[in-house]
């Protein structure tokens, strides 16, 4: 099981992206665990909305950072694959 550029990721119920004001950091809150997020992870997860495909997410990031989508896309897939394995990310079933 692995994501492809066409996959449309979303956070399932029970997984929330939150800004922790006390520690001034972004965290992903999930059942019985908290993931500390770096800036890159926050940028990716900020675009995960259940409608953008991974290709579209990588494209948006490529424009933002003025680089090529093909450079960013594999990193996005690797990061989101990790969350998928931990069952804190899911994909929207193909219509």
């Amino acid at each position: 099981m692995s994501l492809t550029p066409d996959s449309v990721p979303r956070l399932p119920r029970g997984v929330r992206l939150r800004h922790d004001t006390v520690r001034n950091a972004h965290v992903l809150l999930a059942p019985e665990r908290t993931f500390d997020l770096d800036q890159n992870a926050v940028a990716v997860l900020g675009l995960v909305d259940g409608s953008r495909s991974i290709r579209a997410i990588a494209e948006a990031l490529a424009q933002q950072y003025e680089t090529d989508r093909s450079i960013i896309e594999p990193d996005v897939i690797t990061m989101l694959d990790g969350l998928l394995l931990k069952r804190v990310l899911e994909t929207v079933p193909a219509a």
Partner: protein
């Protein structure tokens, strides 16, 4: 940064989790219950407004996760209001429930109030065995119906199974059950021998060979069910090499508020005599976290004796469990005898082996309110 300041350390990290023991009332009577032997009565429980204030204080202190626990938290009439308060404060709410009695009736309202996650206990897979362990007839079908409704509502489900001599053979079946019920997580949690489990230790202690087999089963299942089921394994520390960091280290990550408002560094901390606990009625959570004598008693490493003091693992396991050190070594500041570096470790292992080898396990002393066993400590303690 808004970390709480502390007299002896410049910046004390804020707690990340709050274990809210809303009530000690519970329809189940599990002989390994983590509640204290002296259970709080309903008439002494905190009211709704106080819990709402405590939750607001927790959120501003830096708590992210709230574990709504008990006893059975749905036994409280105001469980929906308390859950809603968590959601409004941005706190991640985790309902730790037995799934029996009135739990199912309240589940839809809890979901609507913004509940984030459900952790459902299962005592065993086979109904007669599960109901013998939990001490409640007809519990199993209620639990399965509850689990079905959790997933139907789209809530993430974790199954929690406390493992001991009476169900260790069912570990493979528990894994299958978690998959069948649509759980995303399973906790295979070997019994921790504090409180009621300490009293019942001789009835609960599994054989080392069975423990090893259960660990192999979990490791195989993790591989097989990758991406489908996450399995957390809590290993039994009488047979372990190193102890567990109690609650992630004393006064480092967790606060526990009891049904009557006492604030503890871990749920068993009241077994340690001489500790002074503060109450939410008298102090804010921030004050308690920073300054209550109980939180300061074993925070950090200054209190440690050898072999902990000079050990390079001292900031990994924080000396292990203080309550277990007291129970087994007779000194809450001793190295947890679950650690292989403790001079008492050999005796502890020998004790576990001897108890697990009893041909017939003793009868359970079921947990009851007002029915604490006269001897809280098994014969022959320390060790």
């Amino acid at each position: 940064m808004n970390a709480v300041t502390h007299a002896s350390s410049p910046a004390l990290p804020a707690p990340i989790g709050l274990l809210a023991e809303l009530t000690h009332r519970c329809p189940l009577r599990c002989p390994y219950c983590s509640n204290p032997l002296e259970l709080d009565r309903r008439s002494a429980e905190l009211d709704t407004a106080t819990w709402q204030r405590v939750l607001a204080e927790a959120a501003s202190l830096g708590v992210l996760h709230v574990h709504l626990s008990g006893g059975e938290p749905t036994a409280r009439q105001d469980i929906v209001e308390i859950t809603r308060a968590c959601a409004e404060l941005g706190l991640y709410s985790n309902l730790i429930t037995s799934g029996v009695a009135g739990a199912l009736d309240k589940l839809d309202a809890l979901s609507e109030a913004g509940l984030d996650h459900v952790q459902l206990s299962v005592q065993a897979v086979e109904a007669a065995n599960a109901e013998r362990i939990g001490g409640l007839k007809n519990a199993q079908p209620q639990k399965f119906a509850f689990a079905e409704r959790v997933t139907a509502l789209g809530l993430p489900l974790t199954l929690n199974a406390v493992i001991h001599r009476g169900n260790i053979a069912e570990v493979p079946a528990l894994i299958d059950l978690a998959v069948r019920l649509g759980a995303k997580r399973l906790e295979v949690a070997h019994t921790q021998y504090y409180g009621w489990a300490y009293v019942n230790r001789a009835a609960l202690m599994p054989a080392k060979a069975d423990v090893d087999r259960s660990i192999r089963t979990v490791e195989e299942a993790r591989e097989r069910l990758k991406g489908q089921l996450v399995i957390d394994l809590v290993v039994p520390d009488y047979y372990a090499k190193y102890p567990k960091a109690c609650a992630g280290g004393w006064g480092r990550r967790l606060m526990n508020v009891t049904p009557t408002g006492k604030v503890l560094p871990c749920h068993a901390a009241e077994t340690i005599p001489g500790l002074e606990f503060w109450h939410v009625q008298d102090h804010s959570l921030a004050q308690i976290w920073a300054d209550s004598p109980a939180f300061r008693a074993y925070r950090g490493t200054d209190w440690m004796q050898e072999p902990c003091r000079s050990c390079d693992r001292r900031e990994k396991d924080w000396g292990g469990c203080r309550c277990q050190a007291l129970a087994l070594a007779g000194d809450a500041a001793a190295t947890d005898p679950a650690c292989s570096l403790s001079p008492l470790h050999g005796k502890v292992q020998a004790l576990a082996i001897a108890e697990s080898a009893l041909e017939t396990a003793p009868d359970y002393q079921y947990r009851t309110i007002g029915g604490a066993p006269r001897t809280a400590v098994p014969e022959g303690a320390p060790v």
